[in-house]
């Protein structure tokens, strides 16, 4: 078993080193799909996070509770709901998003929106209350004060975005059910790993898993490095 594993890793390294076109196209597609999902989730998630962190209004606790609860939503459940919504006979079928990279991106963006909202709003709220008073007493307007508070939480917001991207990049349920794992169209790293493992192509699976892990860990490493410097 151990020898098989070592052999698989050896083959995986050769696959990556030789620049296998399919491995690279799957990797690029994964980056594109999850990158777009992260962008979309930031588009609506960050304003919601700002609203939750910087203002007080009725129902704030309810909204926060909703997003916290959604942090643990099973990706398969979300994938199934999206499949039903986007399928031809579904209410959103006219947009023809099922089995498209854009469909996966939208699905993943919904999956990671709670991460963006919860983590970013916590980061903004954790800024010392004194910073707000300081900005105000130096003559900042409400908007300028909010900007100063946001500036103080920049790294927390970046970490929220990175965590969201990593979640989207490594999820399987939405990509499989909304994307359909179509070769050269919607096949991404996680769906390929699942398929190739089922087919017994362990080396190919390990190659893709190594790439997946390298990208996720490198991103975290780079962010931590930049934060320190």
């Amino acid at each position: 078993m151990f020898e098989t594993f070592i052999e698989a890793i050896h083959q995986a390294i050769i696959l990556i080193w030789s620049g296998d076109p399919e491995v690279f196209s799957i990797t690029l597609r994964s980056l594109y799909v999850s990158g777009l999902a992260t962008l979309l989730s930031c588009l609506w998630g960050l304003p919601i996070a700002l609203g939750l962190a910087l203002s007080s209004f009725r129902g704030k606790k309810l909204i926060r509770g909703f997003f916290n609860a959604m942090l643990g939503v099973p990706t398969v459940a979300l994938g199934l709901i999206l499949y039903l919504l986007l399928s031809k006979s579904g209410p959103l079928g006219i947009f023809r998003l099922l089995y498209t990279p854009l469909g996966i991106s939208i699905g993943q963006s919904l999956l990671i929106t709670p991460i963006v909202v919860s983590f970013a709003s916590s980061a903004i709220e954790s800024v010392d209350v004194g910073v707000r008073d300081l900005a105000r007493t130096l003559g900042a307007s409400r908007f300028q004060t909010d900007l100063a508070v946001m500036h103080e939480s920049t790294w927390g917001i970046i970490l929220a975005i990175v965590a969201s991207f990593s979640r989207a990049f490594a999820e399987l349920g939405v990509a499989m059910m909304v994307g359909g794992n179509i070769r050269y169209v919607t096949r991404v790293l996680t769906t390929s790993i699942a398929l190739e493992t089922a087919r017994g192509e362990i080396a190919f699976s390990i190659a893709l898993t190594i790439i997946l892990m390298i990208i996720v860990f490198s991103l975290t490493f780079i962010i931590n490095f930049l934060r320190r410097t």
Partner: protein, 239 residues
């Protein structure tokens, strides 16, 4: 024209607690008013109201004949906090903040920041991270950041409370220099009676949210009228 500040019947309640009760005093440009009193006597609460950071429940703050609201106060007054709070950025950006939010030209900001830092003996500190400075240096940055915007009312909340004697002297000298320019009214909360004596034009003794003695610095120490103040000055007052 010399500026005039009139504090009229300020009250602040926290549920059943009267933090400030019917507070009133006057101050003129170039004067430093010290607020002295025990912890919880209302010094910081009054400074926060004067800085436009808290609302009073009653009373007015009148400056040059005009009643000020919270937004007016934030434009003309600035508060230096007891625990110096720094923006998580360079010393330069910290000191420049007040000018930047006022839309001052970048070139002017640069010149003023350099002047301001040299007046607190922090030349060469522009690019250092403010949060990495010692407590004394941070308090000097806080002072530079406050007076660079030329406030008409400068509020100081125990500015030397957490400093060692050498840093306390530097901060005190900076306050003296600001006083000599006679450009603003300074209201300073302090526990240090010697410092109050050295710097103040007038001293207000706060006791449970009330001003029980308000007199010229010399008179405050030589002949205080209030019996509690007499004990406070002589060090006999126990809480």
């Amino acid at each position: 024209m010399s500026s005039h500040l009139h504090i009229e019947k300020i009250e602040k309640n926290y549920e059943d607690l009267k933090a400030l009760n019917n507070l009133a005093f006057d101050a003129h440009q170039g004067q430093l008013i010290s607020l002295v009193g025990a912890n919880g006597s209302g010094k910081t609460t009054l400074l926060r109201i004067m800085a436009g950071l808290d609302f009073p429940n009653n009373g007015k703050i009148i400056f040059n004949g005009k009643e000020l609201n919270i937004h007016d106060l934030r434009k003309i007054a600035t508060l230096v906090f007891q625990k110096s709070i720094m923006f998580n950025t360079s010393v330069f950006k910290n000191v420049a903040f007040g000018l930047k939010v006022r839309g001052v030209d970048t070139k002017k900001i640069r010149d003023k920041v350099f002047d301001s830092l040299s007046s607190v003996s922090l030349q060469g500190f522009e690019n250092k991270k403010a949060n990495n400075l010692s407590g004394g240096d941070q308090q000097r940055v806080a002072l530079a950041r406050a007076f660079i915007i030329k406030p008409q009312i400068l509020l100081l909340d125990e500015p030397t409370a957490n400093l060692d004697p050498s840093n306390a002297i530097i901060v005190e000298n900076t306050i003296k220099e600001i006083l000599e320019r006679k450009s603003c009214i300074i209201v300073m909360a302090t526990h240090n009676l010697y410092q109050a004596r050295r710097l103040s034009s007038f001293i207000a003794h706060l006791h449970y949210g009330r001003i029980i003695e308000f007199s010229k610095s010399e008179k405050f120490f030589a002949q205080p009228e209030n019996k509690i103040t007499q004990k406070f000055v002589s060090g006999e007052l126990q809480f």
